[in-house]
């Protein structure tokens, strides 16, 4: 019995139209591979990276501004060259991707949880609760994400004792980006909840006597996740970009533990000087990562939309 269960579960995945459309869509496959690859690289950076750019004792400023290994004056030690502080660009990218992805994923999950919770409640309970939540959403919408992030960061730096900044700045960032994103989820989830809650399977559950919370959790939530996943993917890309933009506005992660965005911001200052590698390589990595994620989200949107099939 159990065994056959497992079997059918696998069959379900591989038999599903989603899987079919995936295997028949090279773009989706490639971008999936790229994304996974980068995530892998980021997670295992400590083992993959030739150096640890975050360990200050190990970096020597005398290695600063070395060009990539293959060009004149390059050092095979630093495949993609070094930045002004003597950190290997390759290693910094790996560790940077780590931070970018951490910030990206965490903030997406954050806004997802908040958004879904509020959306479900708003849609299922309705009435005043709904009105209240949606008004709050409206107000927040009249306040662009980038500004919210700016202010949140500003406040955090104000209220948190300054000697902790370096340690918590990344969480602040996650919160700042996350809090500005929940509205989209809330609205979507609310919309689909309004549809689902009138479907007969929900009424059936209510006739049985199942309590609202359980209904939301067991019945409605799984059925509204589709669009949420699509938003989440796109949002991940946006979150990573936002992080980069924020670091341009000077509220990013500390330069001693740079993210991809911070690397680009730093490299920005070297665009005119000869040291192109300091910007270009992180830049390429960021584009590839975000592009892959976006393409993935694209495919998912079309694949999950029954009307498009």
């Amino acid at each position: 019995m159990e065994q056959s269960l497992e079997k059918t579960r696998l069959q379900r995945i591989f038999g599903s139209d989603i899987w079919y459309s995936f295997t028949h869509n090279p773009t989706a496959i490639i971008s999936a591979l790229v994304t996974l690859g980068l995530i892998f690289a980021a997670i295992f950076a400590p083992w993959l990276a030739p150096h640890n750019p975050f360990d200050l004792a190990s970096i020597s400023i005398m290695d600063g501004n070395l060009p990539p290994a293959w060009s004149a004056g390059g050092d095979t030690n630093f495949l993609l060259g070094t930045d002004d502080q003597g950190r290997g660009v390759l290693s910094t990218i790996l560790y940077g991707a780590r931070i970018s992805l951490l910030v990206g994923f965490s903030s997406v999950i954050f806004s997802m949880v908040v958004g879904i919770a509020l959306g479900l409640v708003s849609g299922y309970v309705g009435g005043r609760t709904d009105a209240l939540i949606m008004r709050i959403a409206d107000i927040q919408l009249s306040f662009p994400a980038i500004l919210i992030a700016l202010l949140v960061d500003g406040v955090a730096r104000g209220v948190i004792p300054s000697d902790m900044h370096t340690d918590i700045s990344i969480y602040v960032l996650i919160f700042a980006i996350g809090i500005s994103g929940w509205v989209q989820y809330a609205r979507t989830v609310r919309g689909s909840t309004l549809v689902e809650k009138n479907k007969e399977y929900v009424q059936a559950a209510r006739v049985i006597g199942i309590r609202p919370f359980t209904i939301l959790r067991r019945h409605i939530l799984p059925n509204v996740m589709g669009p949420v996943m699509v938003i989440a993917t796109i949002h991940l890309a946006i979150a990573i970009i936002t992080e980069a933009t924020l670091s341009f506005l000077g509220v990013g992660v500390p330069p001693t533990t740079p993210s991809l965005g911070t690397l680009i911001r730093i490299g920005n200052e070297y665009l005119f000087s000869g040291d192109w590698w300091i910007t270009i390589f992180p830049g390429i990595t960021l584009v590839v990562l975000v592009l892959a994620v976006n393409l993935l989200g694209d495919w998912m949107r079309d694949a999950l939309n029954p009307k498009l099939r």
Binding site: A204, H219, P222, N223
Partner: protein
Amino acid sequence: MDLLNINNLRIEFPSRHGTVIAVDDVTLTVQPGEVLGVVGESGAGKSTIGNAVIGLLEPPGEMTGGHVFLKEQGIDTLSPEAKRKIRGRKIGMIFQDPLTSLDPLQTIEQQLVETINLHLKLGEKKSQARAVDLLRQVGIPDPENRIKNYPHQFSGGMRQRVVIALALCAEPEVIIADEPTTALDVSIQAQILELMRRLCKDKKVGMLIITHDMGVIADITDRVAVMYRGKLVEEGTTAKILGNPDHPYTQSLISAVPRPDVRLKRFPMVNYIEAEGERKKLLDLSTHWLGKARDYKAVQGPFISLKNLVMTFVTKPALLKHNRVTFNAVDDVSFDINEGEVFGLVGESGSGKSTVARMICSLYRPAAGEVNFLGTDLTKIKSEKERDYYRRQMQMIFQDPFSSLNGRMRVMDIIAEPIRFHKLAGSNREVEQIVTDLLDHVGLGAQAAVRFPHEFSGGQRQRISIARALATRPRFLICDEPTSALDVSIQAQILNLLKDLQEELGLTMLFISHDLPVIRQMCDRVGVMKQGKLVEVSATEDLFENPKAAYTRELLDLMPRLDSLSLEGLEVENT
């Protein structure tokens, strides 16, 4: 010569599960002024024919054989542009759902004039005049003003008339109507059919009408073509097909049609399409779990009695009470249901019959009135815990088998949920045992438990929801249009199943339907509702033989006549 000649038509849908042959070597002809009915159940490929004729096959479908001739002229071979010129000009099309067939952002005048001008090049003025005239022909009152309106300002029936006007506006020679009345109430349906028949006769238009509804066939067609799984199984005059069909499929189809005139014991030979599956008949309730733990206290007085129920909906919300606009979906409804009987509730859409059901099982809280179940007024109960005791004893079966099951759960979990919630089984293994029992009890194998709803057909799903409803061992079952989304033969199976269960378990039932024949087959007593009010309650046979209320009479008159239906091999219940 034939007006329309469909010759050895073959249509294929290539898919990843292999090529599906939607239409297989079908030949049909339509003469001027003739109405040809194409009847068949879902998946028979009847709509595909219609789309193929006007050259609007949904991709990836393609014509891989045969031809379509309009007055000897092959039109399937024409260029897309030429095909386009034929559409609307020579062949008009009417779709099922009038609510979605019209562009919501344009007045019907714009849409009419646009089409008329396109085909007849009359110029603005003349086109408008013709548009108004058309609306008059299709029976829209005060067309001069109504023409300025937007679709959403018309009722469903009126919209369908507008759609017909649009289909007619370029004087086509052939009209293809795809389920033209399925979305409409029976009273409207009769009018629309009458209208279509008249137009077709007056204008000598050939009509191809695609439907699953024997009533429609009986009402307006001259000839009928029966389709099954893409094949044309039988063709002949309407009387012949209904009277004494040759093909076994046609026979089973006919025998499955609920009859307005007599009441049958069961629907026989309905297993042509989907084997009904073995059911453990006549189980011994003293030993079987369904019998056990039926610790119900005996009922004194009526089993259920509704007193002056009122349900109010807010149509225009507002902060202040007095500017809210409300209407009474259910208005002062009272009736009793006795233990062991099947009580029917009939009425057109919006008559409030479903609302009543939902108030009984406390999905809605009544604005006023009492719901007395076993002598307790459920509306007074405050705590959920207390209510659970009654919930367990009354369960509901819903209309749409596709949305009434949570697609993300396995059948096992779906049926087990009520058992677990009401703690009706000790161990998990017992739960599984019960679920398996239930499944073959409703004629599905135990293996169904590990699968997901989307792997089942509509009929099978309805069986699953019945199993779920039975899982709490209820004594009262509410069936809200349980079969109206199903094909007739499947409907017959489900109705049989419900009949059997009702007998075996001595269930009391509230059976809701808009379909009078079905009501006649199922119910002991019937209540008729109109715009939230209960107009009549009487024993089924009385209701059909000598209705009291005028409205009931009206309804009965509008019922499609199926007198020509053959009676052979059916055992009539003599009351």
